[in-house]
């Protein structure tokens, strides 16, 4: 079987979804599947640019491919009779973010309104043509059902790495891993450190995107006078560095704004048996991080986050119990590539 994995991305931006699609391709190849990886550039700077990206996707022809696996909008617009969609990302600016007034476009903008109709209709039409539609989180599944009337089955994301995580004693540091951006809200953790009652420490490690956000983080560390307790490693860290940081961390803090999935940061923390502190508005993360069971779900306010930091610092045994429970929760999901690939190729 010749398979095309089709994704779409903004060039030069790399996040969890890109890691996952690359791992999917690698796992297919490891099972001797003849696979091609197509990555469509996506431009959403204006409604016209989005339409152009959509038209480009719709014009792609793959006559010699037996199965097409589209992952992100507008990849499922590529026409093919044997499509199985695994929906990571719809164009949320036209869905829930539009309703919340967070699309970045005025709801009075006629071209944006037209685009919204076009995107919803195109998604509904092309996803309905798929043999099957899978979604990677309950949040995505519910959105697809609500806005497009399409039922999908959940297919969780296995790890994008085969790294073996280690679990050591719970130390003094809370780690904030992953891309450093406003959407991931590492600044909230910095603000929290300034309000803690304990000498808990914070390590932020990841590439600032955009770089200005990294500058902002550094400035707040200085302004709050927490430079002796906050370390900012503003670069890509290696797998070995990540494993080492998690091994001795007290916990992990991951508080993205309304994320679809639980995130690799969460999964990797649980694999290292670290509890995760997230926020009540972090979306799919709250599906796996349960308050008082596998970590803490705090209001997205510095004082509430600080209280969670202090609670874990003051009770390492509790931190270990929560981390163990996170590990068990993750194990129960049976995230493995054999199952994923069997499902996608069935």
């Amino acid at each position: 079987m010749r398979v095309a994995v089709i994704s779409a991305s903004v060039p030069f931006v790399r996040g969890g979804a890109e890691m996952l699609e690359e791992e999917l391709v690698r796992q297919l190849r490891a099972r001797d599947v003849d696979v091609v990886h197509i990555r469509l550039p996506f431009d959403w700077s204006t409604p016209a640019a989005v339409q152009r990206s959509m038209a480009g996707a719709a014009a792609v022809r793959l006559p010699n491919v037996d199965r097409v696996l589209p992952l992100k909008f507008p990849a499922w617009l590529v026409p093919h009779d044997e499509k199985v969609a695994w929906v990571f990302h719809q164009f949320r600016q036209m869905y829930d973010l539009w309703e919340a007034g967070l699309s970045g476009w005025s709801t009075d903008d006629r071209s944006a309104l037209h685009l919204r109709r076009l995107v919803v209709q195109s998604d509904t039409a092309t996803l309905s043509q798929c043999i099957r539609v899978h979604t990677y989180s309950p949040t995505t599944r519910d959105r697809l059902r609500r806005f497009n009337g399409i039922d999908s089955s959940l297919l969780y994301t296995p790890m994008a790495t085969d790294s073996v995580f280690r679990s050591g004693a719970h130390g003094d540091e809370i780690v904030a891993l992953g891309r450093v951006s406003g959407a991931k809200r590492q600044a909230l953790a910095v603000e929290a450190v300034a309000l803690t009652q304990t000498p808990v420490r914070l390590v932020i490690a990841g590439v600032p995107d955009p770089p200005e956000y990294g500058v902002q983080i550094r400035r707040r560390i200085r302004e709050l006078g927490v430079g002796d307790r906050v370390t900012f490693i503003d670069r890509f860290i290696t797998e070995a560095e990540k494993i080492s940081l998690l091994e001795t961390a007290l916990a992990s803090v991951y508080q993205p704004i309304d994320e679809d999935n639980f995130g690799y940061v969460t999964a990797e923390s649980f694999l290292a048996r670290r509890p995760v502190i997230t926020a009540t508005d972090s979306g799919g993360v709250c599906w796996i991080v349960k308050d008082g069971l596998t970590g803490y779900v705090a209001d997205p306010q510095p004082r509430a986050v600080a209280a969670a930091f202090d609670a874990l610092f003051n009770d390492r045994r509790r931190a270990a119990e929560l981390g163990d429970a996170g590990f068990d929760r993750l194990s129960g999901l049976e995230l493995n590539w054999d199952h994923t690939i069997r499902t996608l190729l069935a």
Partner: protein, 149 residues
């Protein structure tokens, strides 16, 4: 320099392992550039890929587009270096006048057009009005990209 690496040919890597897109991307990255591979490997007539490549928004991104395979000539970008291999010979065979113009005009429209061998360069010179140099490894590509900075 931000460089989009766009492989447009399904069997490109099998024919040109030294120019395999991920390998080239890594090479450019190792030499201080911000390279990103955006593969769209296709087969069949060049004309059937022209529309998609012309519509997709490559021009929005990067200081340069490095196209692997003749179909990349259809992508729109202000600085487009396209490297072409022997697949282009099959692409031209049997083309009607209109499709021939479409392909040759697109190849001529590249900022730079290079070939993987002397024979391909000689062939291209028969079908375009462009002088075509031969580049045999990623170092040559890098030098050519940087020459235009």
């Amino acid at each position: 320099m931000e460089i989009l690496v766009v492989n447009t040919s399904l069997d490109w890597a099998a024919r040109n392992p030294q120019f395999e897109d991920r390998r080239v991307t890594r090479f450019l990255t190792d030499h201080g550039h911000h390279a990103h591979d955006v593969p769209i490997p296709m087969v069949g007539a060049a004309s059937s890929s022209a529309l998609a490549l012309g519509l997709l928004p490559y021009a929005t991104y990067g200081d340069a587009l490095l196209g692997l395979g003749h179909r990349a000539a259809f992508a729109i970008h202000p600085h487009k270096l396209v490297i072409v291999d022997e697949e282009v010979i099959d692409a031209f065979v049997g083309l009607g006048a209109e499709d021939h113009s479409l392909l040759s005009d697109s190849l001529e429209g590249c900022t730079e057009l290079v070939a993987t061998s002397e024979s391909v360069a000689a062939f291209l010179e028969q079908h375009t009005s462009t002088a075509v140099d031969v580049i045999v490894d990623a170092t040559g590509l890098l030098a050519r990209l940087e020459q235009r900075r």
